[in-house]
């Protein structure tokens, strides 16, 4: 059977489920160069379940999609039969400002949700890259967080309920709409960061936070990463409780603030919330370490750029290698030193940023000036980093030049891989979702 014939039959089946208006055959999107046969925009969880049951019966591969901001990760899929968008699922499922919770469809854009609740003085704590495009479903599936991860916790801490369709087409649910709930398995934890390999998220509920009435960002600068990380440790041992605590390397600073004068400083940026008295206390505690302050639009713009580090780095150099690390606090410095050393050996220049107060580090490696890199350099670099990663740390490759991405192992984690495979078997036994992209 030729591809065209299959696509037509699939197209007809999907039209019967969601209506022909919501189907596109041979759509223009590409995922690492791979062309989907058909894209579909179902209007409900039930329609998604019907599509996935059909996919199971026919062994089709399905790639879930939202705002298409994180689709360039993973390996090149051999084939994509169905590209399934959740962008029509945008309904507010529940919202009462007095409860400080909201339930929202997976297709709602993060920025849209933020503006809906901002009028009530509330804050949605996740600040992922490209928030105007990123959807709630994609945010959860990729587990992407931003600088606020430091003070507000991660998605696993404030996602209180999730609705999804399993790979084999069953309607699943975890949690609910209340902030404290231990009834049944915590399905939120499994779906968050699952890269769309277990189920298609259709909606979720979140704990919200009161918006701070005033914020200020304090910047301290250092000549080495080690000094900056020592300073981080001093902050963590102090009574200060900033909402953001970000390490920014000299190269990363150039990416975020291209107009600023070049300097070889490593900075720690602290974002504090509170009254004038609280901010005065920060100044007193930081003392001579404080180099400058940011406020107003300048401050907001800086943090938005920091959240957008990954897309900024990719835009700057489409052939860059982007890796995310999550390490115990004291392993951040050795991990960074290892990255610097290996990058130097292979001719990469390094930009690093991260929520180092919770052990997060994002690095972007691109060809140093005058260097021509080969596929082997990328493969050897990733493999050396994996080998030298401390035992409790994990890493994942977020972006890699297409010619190298199929030859590297993206993930390293201390967690038992066979248990993850058991979870995959339970929810997507026929490996329908994101087949061949995210392997353990």
């Amino acid at each position: 059977m030729s591809t065209t014939v299959v696509a037509t039959r699939v197209g007809r089946e999907l039209s019967a489920i969601c209506g022909a208006d919501h189907i596109a055959e041979a759509p223009p999107e590409r995922i690492l160069g791979c062309a989907p046969s058909v894209s579909v925009r179902p209007g409900s969880a039930e329609e998604i379940a019907a599509i996935l049951r059909f996919a199971n019966e026919n062994g089709l591969s399905v790639v879930p999609a939202g705002g298409f901001t994180q689709q360039q990760g993973g390996k090149t899929p051999a084939q994509i039969d169905v590209l399934l968008y959740t962008t029509r699922l945008t309904a507010v499922e529940h919202y009462d400002a007095a409860d400080l919770t909201v339930g929202i469809g997976a297709g709602c854009k993060v920025a849209q949700l933020c503006s809906t609740i901002a009028k009530d003085g509330l804050l949605f704590a996740a600040d992922p890259p490209l928030w105007e495009l990123a959807t709630i479903g994609g945010l959860l599936a990729t587990g992407m967080t931003g600088p606020r991860r430091h003070g507000y916790g991660g998605l696993r801490d404030y996602c209180i309920g999730i609705r999804f369709v399993t790979g084999d087409g069953r309607l699943g649910k975890g949690g609910g709409r209340v902030v404290k709930n231990v009834a049944g398995y915590d399905m939120m934890k499994l779906l968050i960061g699952s890269q769309g390999t277990l189920g298609i998220i259709t909606g979720a509920s979140f704990k919200l936070f009161p918006s701070p009435r005033q914020t200020r960002t304090f910047v301290a600068v250092f000549s080495t990463a080690a000094e900056a990380l020592d300073f981080r440790h001093r902050i963590l041992r102090s009574p200060l409780d900033p909402v953001c605590l970000e390490l920014v390397s000299p190269e990363a600073h150039k990416l975020l603030v291209p107009a600023s004068p070049a300097g070889a400083w490593w900075s720690i940026c602290l974002r504090a919330t509170g009254s004038d008295a609280v901010l005065a206390r920060y100044r007193a505690e930081l003392g001579s370490a404080l180099a400058r302050e940011m406020e107003g639009e300048n401050e907001v713009g800086f943090w938005r750029k920091a959240a957008d580090f990954v897309p900024l780095a990719c835009e700057h150099d489409p052939d860059s290698l982007l890796i995310s690390f999550a390490a115990p606090l004291q392993d951040v410095q050795p991990v960074l030193a290892t990255v610097e050393e290996i990058a130097g050996t292979h001719g990469f220049s390094l930009a690093a940023i991260g929520r180092v107060g919770v052990g997060h580090l994002l690095v972007s490696l691109s060809a140093a000036v005058g260097r021509q890199l080969t596929k082997t350099d990328f493969i050897a670099t990733v493999s050396a980093l994996r080998d030298r990663l401390p035992p409790d740390a994990s890493m994942t490759v977020l972006h890699c030049p297409p010619e190298a991405c199929d030859a590297i192992s993206q993930l390293r984690t201390p967690t038992h891989l066979d248990s993850m495979r058991a979870v995959k078997r339970a929810l997507d036994p026929k490996d329908i979702l994101n087949r061949g992209r995210f392997l353990f």
Partner: protein, 479 residues
């Protein structure tokens, strides 16, 4: 293999002094802090993960069900064995394996008592945040199985928010690691999935927990109200004012008078209800919030707002709160408590409903609960010898949980589903949603050797229940 030959094997695995099988010894392990009972066939006290692995292999071969047990303080029957099953008791795995100050974490064996960990690291300025009322007795292994909470979870989250890694013995006997000392790890979050799985996926044998730095300043306020309703409305008024207290507890008049007679915590005897409100953080921020909270309380018709002037006064107020359950022992032979949850804005309505339910079934119901989270603890008094009364207690408790479900809440906020609320899972989840959960359990524990007949109902239970028992009052109101 029979139970008696399995017991012989247990002796050779764990040692001759590490197995109980005489009826008079087993009686001590037939109950928890709830109301159900079931006598195990043997209790074994292993000291290593390898021994637990060997025990799981013996139990699987003999097809004898197994359950892990910490201190037995649970309220939902989670640690109660099947009749004739094997209880793995953790009293010999109670060591703090490592305190890692620089990484702000500790690695503990499951039998470590919750409060002991905080006491052990207090001199370093650190503590373990989850603080169930039973924290002087309950174990961290039990906290992990049930995903326990406590008053201070309002700001800091429940157990799962403080566990970054677990070593687990799977029902197959395999010993595996999920996560570690890092706050997050990439790939599926098996640690987060495991916490709160009520011993249906595996048995944890080492737990990595976060340690928090003690706050610089703490303010503890007691808001005194003429009526329960005024206090209930104050709860969402405080959060609406942009303040997230570390703890926000409510005690109704009947309960605080009962406590006061027992331990003299300084609660006013003539109040309709009190709110115990704790703020913590930077000195400057806490002072400002204390002023703001006082103002909110007074605006909501508080009669008075007191502030603990020192650590002793603070400790006394908390002693009163944490001794609530013990105080009831003086006025009633038994009590039954549930931990349904409602959205914060529904607290006034649910307290009204609890009052009506008490009248309907002619029972005394006190309320002492985590108001800031909407996590109720109606305490229903009864005498086990009065079978008719006990039946009314169970009906009242169901009515209350059904109300919680109908207003968008849950049947349990921190105690777990266990045996007692298994059938109510059918009201909270569809058959298909429960089937998704069961398919996960079956990958790990397909023969249900580990803690069978807990948490997830059977499809048959749901068929029998479906359609029945929607709350008639709410149905009329169209909720």
């Amino acid at each position: 293999m029979s139970l008696s030959s399995a017991i012989t094997e247990l002796h050779s695995i764990a040692g001759h002094d590490a197995v109980l099988d005489r009826p008079e010894d087993l009686m001590l392990y037939e109950y928890d802090a709830g109301v159900r009972k079931s006598t195990p066939g043997a209790v074994v006290f292993p000291q290593t993960a390898q021994q637990i692995s060997a025990i799981m292999r013996v139990a699987s071969a003999a097809r004898i069900p197994v359950v892990a047990r910490g201190a037995g303080t649970g309220l939902s029957g989670g640690a109660i064995s099947q009749a004739g099953g094997i209880v793995i008791a953790f009293s010999r795995m109670n060591r703090i394996l490592e305190v890692d100050v620089d990484n702000q974490c500790a690695v503990v064996q499951p039998g470590v008592v919750n409060l002991q960990l905080s006491e052990r690291v207090a001199h370093l300025g650190l503590y373990f945040a989850p603080d169930p009322s039973s924290q002087k007795a309950c174990t961290i292994g039990g906290n992990v199985a049930e995903n326990s909470g406590g008053p201070h979870t309002l700001l800091h989250g429940v157990t799962v928010n403080h566990v970054t890694g677990v070593e687990v013995v799977l029902p197959s006997g395999e010993i595996v690691q999920y996560g570690g000392k890092a706050a997050d790890s990439y790939g599926y979050d098996m640690t987060g999935f495991f916490v709160g799985s009520e011993c249906t996926i595996g048995i944890t044998t080492a737990i990595t927990v976060k340690l928090l730095r003690k706050p610089e300043a703490i303010a503890t306020l007691l808001g005194i109200f003429e009526t329960v309703d005024d206090a209930a409305r104050t709860v969402s008024a405080i959060t609406a004012a942009g303040i997230t207290p570390a703890a926000l507890e409510m005690l109704d008049g009947w309960t605080l008078r009962t406590i006061e007679a027992f331990c003299h915590a300084g609660f006013p005897l003539d109040a309709g209800a009190v709110l115990l409100i704790e703020l913590e953080g930077l000195r400057e921020a806490v002072e400002e919030q204390a002023i703001a909270v006082r103002e909110v309380c007074l605006n909501q018709k508080a009669r008075e707002v007191r502030r603990a002037k020192d650590e002793d006064e603070r400790a006394l107020l908390w002693k009163g709160r944490k001794m609530a359950f013990a105080a009831l022992g003086r006025v009633s032979p038994s009590y039954y408590t549930q931990d349904g949850v409602v959205p914060r804005s529904k607290i006034p309505g649910v307290l009204q409903h609890i009052g009506d339910t008490a009248k309907k079934y002619n029972l005394i119901i006190g309320n002492v609960f985590h108001a800031g989270d909407g996590n109720l603890h109606p305490l229903i008094l009864f005498d086990m010898r009065d079978a008719d009364q006990f039946e009314r207690v169970l009906c009242a408790s169901r009515d209350i949980l059904q109300y919680c479900i109908d207003v968008g809440g849950s049947i349990t906020g921190e105690h777990g589903v266990g045996m007692e609320k298994r059938d109510m899972m059918c009201q909270l989840f569809t058959n298909e949603e429960l089937d998704v959960m069961a398919s996960l359990r079956n990958q790990f524990n397909g023969d249900e050797i580990l803690n069978p007949e807990k948490m997830l109902p059977t499809p048959r239970m749901c068929r029998e229940i479906s359609g029945a028992s929607r709350n008639p009052v709410l149905a009329q109101e169209g909720m």
